[in-house]
Amino acid sequence: MTSATADRIGIPDTSGTDHTPRRRSKLVLRNTLLGWSFILPNFIGFAIITLIPVVTLFYVALTDFNIFGKGEFIGLENFPKLFADPLFQRSVVNTFYYAVMHVPLTIVVSLGLALLLNTKLRGIAFFRTAAFFPYITSIVAIALVWNLLFSPDYGPINEFLRFIGIQNPPGWLTSQEWAMPSIVIISTWRDMGYYMILFLAGLQTVPRELYEAARVDGTNAWQRFWNVTLPGIRPTMFLVTVLLTIASFKIFDLIIVLSPGGTAAPNQATVVLSQFIYQKGFIESKFGYASAAAVVLFAICLGATVIQFYINKKRSA
C-alpha cells in the first residue's frame, strides 16, 4: 500500500486536488482527530502504564541512585564509566554476536516452516502444533534437556558426531567458544514456532492470482518465491524482523539458565546486556548505572528499528 494512497485517506470527495491552505489545514485537523480517536483507548493505558515508567528510567540513568532511590543527579557521568567497563563491553559484543546469528537463522527457519506447513493437508495440524511446542515448554525443562542433549561426554548429539567420524566434537554449552552458538540453536528452536505463526498469517495475504500469473509466465518455484511471495509478505517480514531483532538484543532468560556452569554469575562467553543490567541493578544495587546501560540497550534497539523502518518505507513506495 503506497503512501500516496494513504495520503488520500479521509478525503470524502476523491477529487482532492484543491490544495488551498485553509482546506489543507482543515484536512490535517480532521485526520489528526480521526487518527487519535482510534489510537486513544490503547494509548491512554500505554502512556500511563508503560510510557511514564520508561521516561523515569531515562531520568534515573542520569543519577547514581541505588535501588531505593538514594543518590544524586550526576548528569551524563554514568556513560563514560559504562563504556570503559570491561564487563559492559563484553556484554555488548556478546549481545551483537547473539543477535547477528539468531535473527537471520530464525527468519529463514520460521519462514521455511510456514511455507512448508501452509497447506490444508490432513495431519498438518500435528506438525504445526509440534512446531509450536518448544515455545510453550517450560524453560526449566528446556534448559535441562538441552544440557543433556549437548552433554559433551554422554550426550546423543556428540555420540552421533563421533559416530560419523568427527573425532573431537565441540564442548557445546560447556565450552567458551561454543556456548553462545549453542544458545542460538536452542533459542531458534524455541522461537521458530512463534514466528512461524506470524508468517503463516502473512502468507494468507498474497493473492492466489499472482502465483497463477507467474506460473503462466513460465517462472520456476524459486523465482515465484523471490518475486511474488517475498514482496507480498513485506509487512509481515517487517513485523517479524523488528520484533525478532529487539527480542534478540534483550535476550535474558535463556542466557541465565544455559550459561556454562548454570549459575547466574556472568560468564565471559555469554554475558549479555540484559544480564549486565540485572546484575548491576538488582544484585549490586547500582540502579542509576544499570539504568544507563538500559538506555544504551534502548538506543541500540531503536537504531536497528529505525533503520528497518526506513528500509521498509522505501520498499513500500
Binding site: 511514564i52 531505593f68 532511590g69 538514594k70 565450552s175 548454570g262 549459575t263 554469575a265 544484585i283 544495587s285
Partner: protein, 421 residues
C-alpha cells in the same frame, strides 16, 4: 505536553522512592513496659508451608508477650527483588527477615532499616557482626548455619574406612574420598555453589575477599580438580548438565560424604522418614581443617539469618518489634527452633540438648561436637562491595571448574576485575 507530564511523573516517582527511603528516621523512645494493648506485627517469610521456623517464632512470641505476629509470604528465589519493590512502595512488613547477608548493606544504605543497637545480644549468640554497618547494629541473627561434613556410616563400613574423628585435614579427606569410591558411588559429592570451595578457603586461610588478592583459593581448587580427575567426585561439567540435587546425591547414596550446611540435618531426617531418601546410618563431623592446630575449635563458614526492623514502622510498634528481635535470640526461642531441626544463632547447652533430642538426629559425640563447637567465619562479610565481589568470584569459580581457564589465569582475571570495580 509530553515532556512536562513525563517530568512531573518522573519527579513524582523519584520523590516517592526517596520518601519511602527517608521516612521513619527517628524511633520513639517508648518505654518497654508501656505496650499495654497487644500489638500486631507483620513479618516477611518465605515458603511458609515448608519453612516452619517463622510460625514457630510467631507462636512463641505471642505466648510470651501477647503480641501477634502475622506472616507475609514471599517467593524464596526472588525474595530480595520483591522485598525491594515493597519497600519502595512503602508496603513492606514491620519486621524484615534478612534472608541473605549480602543485601544488608544495600538496605542500610537505602535507609530501610532501623538502628537496633539498644538490643542486648547474649554471649552465646554468634553472627551478630553480619548486621553491623559502620559500627551500628541494624539487625540481629536468629539462626546461624555452619558447614559440616555429612558422612554415610554404612558406606564407610562397607569400604572399611574409619569414620572421621574430628581431626581430619584435607589430605585425610582426599584419601578417604579415594578409598570410598566404588563403581556404584562416588567418595564424596561437592555441590556446584561457589561457597563449597571458596567458603572453606576464605575461612581457613584467613582470606579476605575484599583485599583483591585471591591467590589463597588456588590450593582448594587444585585439590578439587584433582579429586574430579581421579573420579572420586562428579565433575562440575556433568553436574551442571544434569543438575543433580545434593539431597538426592547423598540421600540416595550416590556419594559417601557431603560437605553441606547444617540445615541439611532436618531435610535428611524428613526425607528418610518419607522415603525420598534411603534408610542408612549417618552422622556429621567437623569439616576437614588445614592442619591440626584448629582441632579444638574447627574453622568453618556460614552465614546467619536474622531480622531487621523496617525503618518506616509505625513508632507505636517499635518497642514490640525490638522485643521480638530479642525473643528470637533467647534460650526459649532457640530451643523451640532446635526442636524442629534448625540451627539457631544461640547455641548454649540448653539449646544443644533440645537439638539432639529430636528424633533422627545422630547423637554420637562427634556430631554433638561438630554442631556446637566451631569458629564460624561469615561467608558474606557485610560491606557494600559484597555482591559485586561475590559475582566476580562466582565467575572465577565457573571458569576454573569448567576448565575454560587455568587456575592461575582465572585468579589473575578475577583480581583484575576486582581492581576495575
Amino acid at each position: 505536553m509530553n515532556r512536562k507530564f513525563a517530568a512531573a511523573g518522573g519527579l513524582a516517582i523519584v520523590a516517592t522512592l526517596s520518601l519511602a527511603a527517608c521516612s521513619g528516621g527517628t524511633s520513639e523512645t517508648a518505654d518497654p513496659g508501656a505496650s499495654a494493648a497487644p500489638v500486631t506485627l507483620t513479618l516477611s517469610g518465605w515458603s511458609l508451608e515448608t519453612t516452619p521456623e517463622f510460625q514457630t517464632l510467631a507462636d512463641g512470641f505471642e505466648k510470651e508477650t501477647g503480641n501477634k505476629v502475622e506472616l507475609v509470604e514471599y517467593d524464596p528465589a526472588e525474595y530480595n527483588t520483591l522485598l525491594t519493590a515493597d519497600l519502595g512502595a512503602g508496603a513492606a512488613p514491620d519486621i524484615i527477615t534478612q534472608k541473605e547477608v549480602k543485601y544488608v548493606s544495600t538496605l542500610v544504605a537505602g535507609g530501610q532499616l532501623l538502628d537496633v543497637s539498644d538490643i542486648e545480644i547474649p554471649d552465646s549468640v554468634s553472627g551478630a557482626k553480619s548486621y553491623e554497618v559502620d559500627g551500628t547494629q541494624y539487625g540481629t541473627p536468629y539462626r546461624q548455619d555452619s558447614w559440616v561434613l555429612f558422612y554415610n556410616k554404612d558406606l564407610f563400613d562397607a569400604a572399611g574406612v574409619d569414620y572421621p574423628d574430628g581431626s581430619w585435614t584435607w589430605d585425610d579427606y582426599d584419601e578417604a574420598a579415594k578409598a570410598l569410591t566404588t563403581a556404584d558411588h562416588y567418595g564424596t559429592y561437592e555441590h556446584r555453589w561457589q561457597s563449597t570451595t571458596q567458603g572453606f578457603a576464605s575461612a581457613q586461610e584467613d582470606g579476605d575477599i575484599f583485599s583483591g588478592d585471591f591467590e589463597y583459593f588456588a590450593d582448594s581448587y587444585e585439590r578439587r580438580l584433582a579429586r574430579e580427575a581421579e573420579g572420586d567426585q562428579i565433575d562440575f561439567a556433568t553436574s551442571s548438565a544434569n543438575s543433580p540435587t545434593y539431597q538426592g546425591e547423598f540421600g540416595k547414596q550416590h556419594a559417601a560424604m557431603l560437605p553441606m550446611g547444617s540445615w541439611y540435618v532436618a531435610t535428611l531426617i524428613s526425607q528418610q522418614k518419607s522415603g525420598e531418601a534411603d534408610t542408612f546410618n549417618w552422622g556429621f563431623a567437623p569439616i576437614p581443617q588445614v592442619d591440626d592446630s584448629t582441632t579444638s575449635e574447627p574453622v568453618t563458614f556460614g552465614d546467619p539469618t536474622g531480622f531487621g526492623i523496617n525503618a518506616a514502622i509505625d513508632p507505636a510498634k517499635t518497642a514490640a518489634a525490638k522485643a521480638f528481635l530479642e525473643y528470637a535470640m533467647s534460650d526459649d526461642a532457640a530451643s523451640t527452633l532446635a526442636g524442629i531441626g534448625i540451627t539457631p544463632a544461640n547455641t548454649s547447652d540448653v539449646v544443644s540438648d533440645a537439638f539432639f533430642s529430636v528424633e533422627g538426629v545422630p547423637t554420637d559425640d562427634l556430631s554433638k561436637f561438630a554442631w556446637s563447637t566451631h569458629d564460624t567465619k561469615p561467608e558474606n562479610p557485610t560491606s557494600d562491595e559484597t555482591a559485586a565481589v561475590q559475582t566476580i568470584l562466582g565467575t572465577m569459580h565457573t571458569e576454573i571448574l569448567m576448565k575454560s581457564k587455568s587456575v592461575e589465569q582465572a585468579i589473575a582475571d578475577a583480581e583484575a576485575a576486582f581492581k576495575a570495580l
